[in-house]
């Protein structure tokens, strides 16, 4: 019985203390968090007026895209020309072999 009474008293004091301290903790937290956030934006900001840290440079993306297109097409044309050349050589070799052996 005494133990239960003691526990209830401790719990009551703890709740009371928390109720007293909580608003100040809450106020402190809210103030700190708000202070750390950037000022709210209430209208549209054009992309070129954004602060530098928020801007992503377009030129590297554009250069990469065009370079990729050129390299990809060039590589494919070279690969196709090589394959065509290889088959053409094989054809000529085989045709001359067949001619030498008297078959056509």
């Amino acid at each position: 019985m005494t133990t239960r009474l003691l526990m209830a008293t401790v719990l009551f004091c703890a709740i009371g203390a928390a109720g007293t301290i909580w608003p100040s903790i809450d106020r402190y937290t809210a103030t700190t968090v708000l202070a750390q956030q950037p000022a709210p934006v209430d209208e549209f900001v054009p992309i070129d007026q954004l602060p530098p840290q928020d801007q992503l440079p377009a030129a590297p993306l554009l250069v990469t895209a065009y370079a990729f297109v050129v390299l990809m097409l060039f590589a494919y044309v070279v690969s196709l020309a090589k394959r065509l050349g290889g088959v053409q050589r094989d054809l000529e070799r085989l045709q001359s072999e067949l001619k030498h052996t008297g078959r056509s």
Partner: protein, 218 residues
Amino acid sequence: MPKWFVPLAVVCAVMFAVSPVLIANAPYESTMGLVQKIFYVHLPSAWVFLLGAIVCGIASARFLFKGDPRQDRLAWAAAELVVVFGIITLVTGPLWARKAWGVWWQWDVRLTSSLMGWMVSVAYLLLRQFGGPGSEKLAAGLALFGMANVPFIYISVNYWRTIHPTTSVVPTLPTSFGLPLWFSAIAFLLLFVLLLRMRVRLEEQRATLDTLYLSADA
């Protein structure tokens, strides 16, 4: 090679030389700025990618129903070009999206269906390369699915919620944006025709070589 090949190659080369000048002189789009200029290669390559899938599908259907080996060669050539122009589309798109949307990729319907279309063509090529005898008919069936995906890719942006621009953008473009786009599109189309002819020629030569090997063995 046919007579038209060299003159067309010259015209195509001139167009690819002039195209960057037109693109550089095109005005900046008001919200995206410089990065929007990726549009002039992204969209033509995407169109050619879809065109290649249609050519591959039609040629495959003709091969399946008529058994014409020339159609099979055309389908194989077109499938390879679908992979080439598809990868250009799928690489230039994310480079543009990174700046315009803030992300490299979105699993939205246009992007996902385009990736699927590209993967079908990769599967077609793998099947032709490693599938062994009889794989040409399996691959032709696969190409039909690749072709069936094309209208879905095209109209998907009009029916599903997406951040990708809809199909109504191009018809409403002002001349200053439209001229470099259509010029670039024609250059890509000519390149597609030329590469397709070269690739078909490769398959024709291979077929001749096979016939010669068979006659040499006989």
